[in-house]
């Protein structure tokens, strides 16, 4: 793997607070902030979050293999990026995800079964975004970055930027991938956000791949530098370092909440799994690459750190494992017993005010369906 161009890591612009070997390091601009709580406790919490998130992922992958899900978008390897970011959010902040933010969803309190129902084909991810300030999964690449920007413009109009009140000032996070950075919509979102000084954190998980295409196809320079072209700051953080991601995201959120306009965070990470369960990465990438990244696993480094420093004991790790097992069971059972929608339901979800012609189509179809019931 080249260390030049868009894949360069290291140097002062690569923010890291916990090395792959589990060593705490300092960065001149960013420090981990436990928010007044006991730091070890917070880090243990992150560890738990990441393990549970990984379990959601592996469990879902297994459910797909067993035919219970149509497809699954794996986040394996991106746990630190998502938990670090998700745990830096304040309740009033709002998130616009792609289709892979299971860890962020978990942080926001969304029941993973709401996500499984999408990938099972029961619905399309029908949660109410206002329930957890977590928007709906968006499959068309990049579209949500504009939604985030518009939402942030709404936040501005609500007078919730730069008031100085930490319970009110609000930021909006737009998630997107390295591949998405090539979409017109994403670049337009940069332009609108810069033009209106909107409180958006553009959070790019650069997991090195857009399906089979490496990051070099999308950019010849590190992605965080894209922001330079639009006149707002961009930073690259070790996306497999939950402490660094937390610190950087927290700073970025505050920067935007304070009314300084948008900011880009590139979480430099790796998609350890396939693009989705229907993808076969052996067709386009070397297994050594995966081996290389396994050494940077986001969870192991926290475990090493906690263990080496005596901040967590066996009992703790066992309890997390147990919790993960319980979560696994809940997901398996919940998935298999998920109620189906009635086919007629789709007609009632198109409009707030149903149209006579669609109501008629519904009624005709209802009568048609009923004709079979009569027949049996």
């Amino acid at each position: 793997m080249s260390l030049l161009g868009p894949t360069a890591q290291g140097g002062p612009e690569f923010i890291q607070l916990l090395t792959p070997e589990g060593q705490r390091v300092e960065h001149p601009d960013y420090a981990f902030d436990a928010g007044g709580r006991d730091e070890a406790e917070v880090v243990r919490g992150f560890y738990r979050d990441m393990v549970l998130t990984r379990r959601i992922d592996t469990e879902s992958t297994a459910l797909q293999r067993h035919g219970e899900l149509g497809i699954w978008t794996q986040l394996l390897g991106q746990e630190a990026a998502q938990i670090g970011c998700g745990r830096a959010l304040l309740p009033q902040d709002f998130v616009f995800p792609t289709y892979r933010e299971h860890g962020v969803a978990y942080c926001r309190g969304l029941d993973p079964l709401r996500i499984l129902s999408l990938f099972r084909g029961v619905d399309q991810g029908a949660w109410d975004p206002n329930e957890h300030n977590f928007g709906n999964y968006t499959i068309v690449i990049g579209a949500q970055t504009l939604h985030a920007t518009g939402y942030a413009m709404g936040v501005q109009r609500d007078g919730l930027v730069g008031t100085g009140d930490p319970d009110r000032d609000t930021s909006v996070v737009a998630f997107f991938g390295d591949g998405a950075s090539s979409q017109g919509d994403v670049n337009e979102a940069f332009i609108f956000a810069a033009s209106y000084n909107a409180p958006v954190v553009f959070f790019c998980q650069n997991n090195q791949w857009a399906i089979s295409e490496p990051i070099e196809r999308q950019s010849r320079i590190p992605l965080y530098q894209r922001a330079r072209g639009f006149g707002f700051p961009g930073v690259r953080v070790d996306g497999n370092d939950v402490l660094a991601v937390h610190a950087v995201t927290q700073a970025a959120l505050q920067y935007t909440r304070d009314g300084n306009g948008p900011m880009l965070v590139e979480a430099y990470t790796y998609r350890m799994g396939a693009h989705t369960t229907t993808d076969d990465p052996t067709r386009y990438r070397m297994s050594e690459e995966l081996e290389y990244w396994k050494l940077k696993d986001p969870i192991s480094r926290v475990k090493v750190y906690l263990t080496r420093n005596g901040l967590a004991d066996h009992a703790f790790f066992d309890s997390v494992e147990l919790e993960a097992d319980e979560l696994g069971v809940r997901l398996r059972e919940g998935c298999k017993s998920m109620p189906e929608q009635h086919p007629l339901a789709i007609f009632d979800q198109v409009y707030v005010d149903q149209t006579p012609e669609l109501a008629e189509q519904r009624d005709t179809f209802a009568a048609y369906l009923a004709s079979f019931e009569g027949a049996h």
Partner: protein, 325 residues
């Protein structure tokens, strides 16, 4: 009672909607200081401020995409697309997001957005300034599509569209903007938004028109009356949903129908309307439903547009063909 052009009526309707609801925002290219290239938003930024009348960067996908976010935050964005031919960069946001978010979320998300598009030809413009994109939007479930043909409808329909909780593509026949004036009674009770209207009663044949062709068809009816033929004209007003009950009634009486629009004939609104009328009025029809539309060529250079657009003569020719069938 004030006499107004369609342009002024739309301006007045927008103003009223903004006064009535502080959540209503306008957004688009040049809608602010300039008041839009057609001046439909004239004076609104001055009175409601830059936060509510928003000049956008030059990017249509950006306009609609950010409007989606504003709607999710509880606002009611009214987006202006400068000309019909420039809506296509926003097409993805419109058909894959605006149209689908309510469905995707089983109703949790509402998309009370109005997308205003000055449309149609006849103003001597260059390429991309005379398109009629209605069929593409009407084919998309989740959107509603309406169009006004006169100042009174303009005044009321824009307010009704803004008040609607569903996303609405609001088509404004640009060559009518300054064509005629009408008396607008702000205290009247408007007809419902999603209803067609018999613009002129008749007995021998039904002409179906909307937006810019309503006026043409009224002239046709006038001319036909001179030849002793009684032509009914329906102003469809709503293209999705269609309100065809009055049309079926009419066709059952007249036995003949012609749909007239500027959009390309192939797969234009006329094809759907013809298909539905035929399904519902099969035994009443004395001739196939005919269609007079723009030809199936790109919109031509402006010196040829009079030939391209359905005009009095071409519609009269179709009236003859239908009656002689």
């Amino acid at each position: 009672m004030t006499k107004m052009t369609l342009a002024k009526a739309l301006n007045a309707g927008l103003r009223k909607a903004m006064e009535d609801d502080p959540k209503v925002l306008l957004m688009g290219e040049d809608v602010g200081k300039l008041g839009g290239v057609f001046r439909i938003t004239d004076g609104l930024q001055k009175d409601f401020g830059e936060d509510r009348v928003i000049d956008s960067p030059l990017a249509e996908s950006g306009i609609i995409g950010t409007a989606v976010g504003m709607a999710m935050r509880g606002y009611r964005p009214v987006c202006e697309i400068q000309f019909d031919g420039f809506v296509y960069p926003a097409y993805d946001q419109i058909v894959s997001q605006v149209a689908k978010l309510h469905f995707r979320t089983h109703g949790a998300v509402k998309m009370p957005m109005v997308i205003r598009i000055p449309y149609g030809g006849g103003i001597g413009a260059v390429e991309h300034h005379s398109e009629s994109p209605e069929a593409q939007f009407a084919h998309t479930p989740g959107l509603k599509v309406v169009t006004c043909s006169n100042p009174i409808d303009g005044y009321w329909m824009i307010q009704q569209a803004i008040a609607s909780d569903d996303p609405i593509v609001f088509l404004e026949p640009k060559r009518q903007y300054h064509a005629d004036k009408a008396d607008i009674d702000e205290t009247a009770v408007p007809v419902p938004l999603f209803s067609s209207r018999i613009a002129r009663p008749g007995a021998d044949l039904t002409l179906l028109a909307y937006g810019p062709t309503v006026k043409t068809c009224l002239k046709v009816a006038e001319a036909a009356a001179g030849e002793g033929r009684s032509v009914e004209v329906v102003d469809l007003r709503t293209l999705s949903p269609l309100d065809l009950e009055p049309v079926y009634d009419s066709v059952r009486r007249t036995g003949r129908a012609i749909v007239v629009h500027e959009a390309h004939t192939n797969l234009g609104m006329g094809s759907e309307i013809a298909a539905r009328i035929t399904e519902r009025c099969f035994y009443s029809l004395q001739a196939p439903v005919l269609r007079v539309g723009g030809f199936d060529t790109p919109y031509p250079p402006s010196r040829l547009e009079e030939e391209y657009l359905p005009d009095l003569d071409r519609v009269l020719d179709a009236v003859d063909r239908s009656l002689e069938f």
